[in-house]
């Protein structure tokens, strides 16, 4: 009759509680993964729609209009098309590497998602839920590691395709991402110094408690460097060397088709989302707003996740905006900008931040 009692007696109350907590934690994480992945994939689909609409209206045309009202179902139609398209594999490719590279590219992008805190931690039914899937103390380092992993996907696809265009695209991308990763990392050092932590949640909290509200104000130079490097890191105009359409046809994924190409596409858009999230978290206060803005009545009722997404989308819009405005850099000029301007600027920024920190 007293099964619960029996189990309690044999396993021990303490252990049972630990097991229960583990189960709950496990369930929560699983739930979070499902939510974040589902939302992100849908987001990517509609980010393409958003991009096409935004750029369309900037270029005196309408963008997608045919599938659904105002073309709202266009991303779904595109996804279905890519999914059911014939998967063409050129005969001379290095097959295992060719298969693996889109998975690495996409996997690295998706794995980075787990460190992004979307909102402050909150409690439901007595369970404390953190804003990110994995609240890691060295989250920033992890993010860099994963975005560095993505380069392998690009380079391997360029190499294995056995095509000269893809090869050149892969080479360009590798050198570009490596150069800009330095600038990206150095620009964030200022933020790390100010927040005293690599944990993204802590960085947001540090901004909430600071006088400025946004780190973008004291870290202005770092902010500029980061934004430029982030655009280069996600291979977007004006730094879209690796896939420069008019030079290298489609760059490293020239030989890919069907769903494999879609994986690269997804990876690129998720990468864009992650870079936008990083800007929002490290420089624009994540899910918080500065105290001087929060003094406006009613604004404090807006949930943190809304603030966060607004910042992210504002930055994604910025991505699209410069795509519609700027021509493309040449490869050597791009390297020049990275090494001669951004890296020295980021270093100077670190020095200034450090001196400031010591003196005050």
């Amino acid at each position: 009759m007293d099964i619960v009692g029996t189990i309690q007696n044999t396993v021990g109350t303490e252990n049972l509680h630990a097991l229960g907590r583990f189960g709950i934690d496990f369930g929560v994480i699983l739930l979070k993964i499902v939510v974040v992945l589902g939302v992100t994939l849908l987001h990517v689909a509609y980010a393409t729609y958003f991009e096409r609409k935004v750029i369309g209206h900037m270029q005196v045309r309408l963008g997608p209009m045919r599938v659904g009202p105002h073309g709202l179902l266009q991303p779904i139609a595109d996804g279905l098309k890519l999914f059911f398209k014939e998967d063409i594999i050129p005969t001379e490719v290095d097959r295992p590497v060719f298969y693996l590279s889109p998975i690495i590219f996409m996997g690295a992008a998706i794995a980075s998602l787990s460190f992004i805190p979307f909102t402050r931690s909150f409690e439901i039914f007595g369970v404390n839920i953190t804003g990110s899937i994995a609240n890691v103390n060295v989250a920033l380092l992890w993010l860099f590691a994963f975005s560095g992993m993505g380069v392998y996907g690009i380079f391997m696809s360029g190499w294995s395709s056995n095509s000269k265009y893809a090869f050149l695209g892969g080479l360009r991308s590798t050198s570009q991402v490596i150069s800009y990763e330095i600038a990206l990392g150095l620009s964030l050092v200022g933020v790390m110094i100010m927040a005293g932590s690599l944990n993204l949640t802590e960085i947001v909290k540090a901004q909430e408690n600071s006088v400025y509200g946004f780190f973008a104000i004291p870290q202005f130079a770092g902010f500029i460097v980061f934004v430029i490097a982030a655009v280069a890191e996600s291979n977007r105009t004006p730094f879209d060397m690796p896939e420069a359409e008019t030079e290298l046809v489609a760059g490293y994924f020239t030989e890919y088709s069907g769903f494999r190409m879609a994986l690269f596409f997804l990876g690129e858009y998720i990468g864009m989302f992650i870079m936008s999230s990083l800007v929002a978290i490290c420089y624009l206060g994540g899910w918080t707003m500065p105290w001087y803005i929060m003094k406006i009545p009613l604004l404090s009722y807006v949930p943190g996740v809304i603030w966060f997404l607004m910042k992210v989308y504002a930055f994604i819009f910025f991505y699209y905006w410069i795509r519609a405005t700027l021509p493309r850099y040449r490869y050597d000029q791009l390297m020049g900008v990275g090494w001669k301007i951004l890296i020295p600027l980021a270093l100077a920024n670190i020095l200034a931040t450090g001196l400031f920190k010591i003196m005050f």
Binding site: I55, P327, Y329, R330
Partner: protein, 486 residues
């Protein structure tokens, strides 16, 4: 070390750019030898779009070859038509009426604007400025709509004719053209806002593909590609045709001879073209638009079909007396409408007859007569018409109709000799060289197309630069492969 070098043989990466490539402006193929990203050697391959237009021209009448010129540089078909017509007119020794010359100048400059818009669109897209591409297409569309108002066609217009233009322009067209001219300068400003002072654009274009004036001349470059290097050569100024000697305009030239200078030259030409069109509209004289030369031009259609017989077609009729029954006309008839036994008068079955005039042209005995408005009439009625006095306009109509037949059959008969005539098309100097043997067809027709000569200069422009500069250079010489390959 030497052993290692022996084992590790280093050679250039050989990339075939085109003929299927998004930035080679059609089917140009470049074999690039790359040392890393730097270009060691460029070998242009042309001919993927060869349609034998020069050879076709030899088997067609002068006026029949006119639509072929649309297919040369399909981006600015109007200019090619004008170039061809100016050349043939000079060969035949006729002159277009003044009004036609002004109209040609107007549409020619419209074509220059349309061409430069497409050039700017693709050049900017190649360098990555995507929005300029769509802005330019918006305005090019406007010009194509104006073309449509003039002649009904948008791309392959065939509007200018040997001895004038096909039809007059209306006041309505002039109004909508003036509206375009008022609006367009603000559009140029829009493109310039996007790229003219843009740092990336400047970095991509300044100092790229530099050609000195001497080099540009010795490569045979013409048009804005030459003028970018500072050589003020323009056929419109140096050897004026049409109405160019009656309008004022400047020839913009560059100083450095790089991609940016050539870009600036073409942007200035927009303004000059607007200026020329404005003056032409102001000075547009009244009068006919076709030369009154029965041997060299088509007769006007409304005079060929007079009001006396508004609904009925003309018909051919074989008179019994002169007909010897030789059977020539029977063999010449494409539809077999003529029947009859040998050495007896033949007859035409009017239900099948196409009124093509082949029988008329072959008959040696002048047995065939044209009965104006005679289609569907019985033989007696035709006889009656032939016997009764014919009104003047009908008589004139039948004369014109027969002129038309001879003209179509023989073509405009040119005197013997050779001739080279050049005109300034948007891309440079388009020259037509004819060898005439005294018939209605050229013995030899040869084109000097600017695109072909510009493509030859590509290796000189590209070597030593990077891959990305190749497309900037392809853009700057403004190449269209339809004209290059012919």
């Amino acid at each position: 070390m030497e052993e290692v070098e022996k084992i590790l043989e280093t050679r250039e990466l050989n990339v075939s750019m085109g003929p299927q490539h998004p930035a080679t402006h059609g089917v140009l193929r470049l074999i690039l030898d790359l040392d890393g990203e730097r270009i060691v050697k460029v070998t242009p391959h042309v001919g993927y779009l060869h349609r034998g237009i020069e050879k076709l021209g030899e088997s067609l009448n002068y006026f029949q070859a006119l639509p072929l010129t649309d297919r040369l540089d399909y981006v600015s078909a109007m200019s090619n038509n004008i170039g061809y017509c100016v050349a043939v007119e000079k060969l035949l020794g006729i002159e277009a009426p003044k009004r036609a010359k002004f109209i040609r100048t107007i549409v020619g400059e419209m074509s220059r604007i349309a061409n430069h818009l497409l050039w700017l669109a693709t050049h900017a897209l190649d360098i990555g400025a995507m929005t300029v591409f769509l802005y330019c297409f918006r305005d090019r569309e406007w010009i194509l709509e104006l073309y449509e108002e003039v002649c009904g066609a948008r791309l392959t217009v065939t509007y200018p004719r040997i001895g004038g233009v096909r039809n007059d322009i209306s006041q309505q067209f002039i109004d909508s053209l003036s509206k375009f001219l008022d609006e367009f300068p603000s559009r140029i400003l829009e493109y310039e806002t996007l790229i003219d002072q843009n740092r990336i654009w400047l970095q991509r274009t300044i100092g790229i593909g530099v050609l000195t004036a001497e080099e540009a001349v010795s490569w045979g470059l013409t048009g804005p590609t030459l003028r970018g290097s500072g050589v003020p050569y323009d056929v419109r100024k140096n050897a004026p045709y049409d109405a160019y000697d009656q309008v004022e305009f400047e020839v913009p030239i560059g100083s450095e001879g790089d991609v940016y200078d050539r870009y600036r030259c073409r942007m200035h030409e927009f303004h000059q073209s607007i200026k020329i069109i404005r003056q032409c509209i102001e000075k547009l004289p009244p009068g006919p638009v076709m030369a009154d030369e029965a041997k060299f031009t088509f007769p006007p259609k409304d005079a060929m079909f007079p009001v006396t017989h508004p609904t009925k077609q003309h018909a051919f009729y074989i008179q019994e007396k002169p007909c010897k029954g030789c059977g020539m006309c029977r063999r010449a008839c494409p539809v077999g409408a003529i029947t009859g036994e040998k050495k007896k008068p033949h007859k035409i079955n009017q239900d099948i007859c196409l009124v093509c005039g082949n029988c008329y042209a072959t008959c040696k005995f002048k047995a065939l007569f044209l009965v104006p408005g005679g289609h569907g009439l019985s033989e007696e009625e035709m006889q009656k018409i032939l016997e009764s006095p014919i009104p003047d306009d009908v008589a004139n109509a039948s004369k014109l109709f027969l002129d038309h037949f001879t003209y179509v059959k023989k073509g405009p008969v040119a005197p013997k000799g050779e001739l080279y005539v050049a005109t300034e098309v948007p891309k440079g100097e388009l020259g037509f060289y004819f060898v005439s043997d005294g018939t209605g067809k050229p013995f030899r027709m040869r084109l000097r197309s600017p695109s072909f000569i510009h493509a030859g200069a590509l290796p000189r422009l590209c070597v030593g630069h990077l891959v990305a500069d190749v497309i900037a250079n392809i853009g700057t010489i403004d190449i269209v492969l339809g004209e290059c390959d012919r």
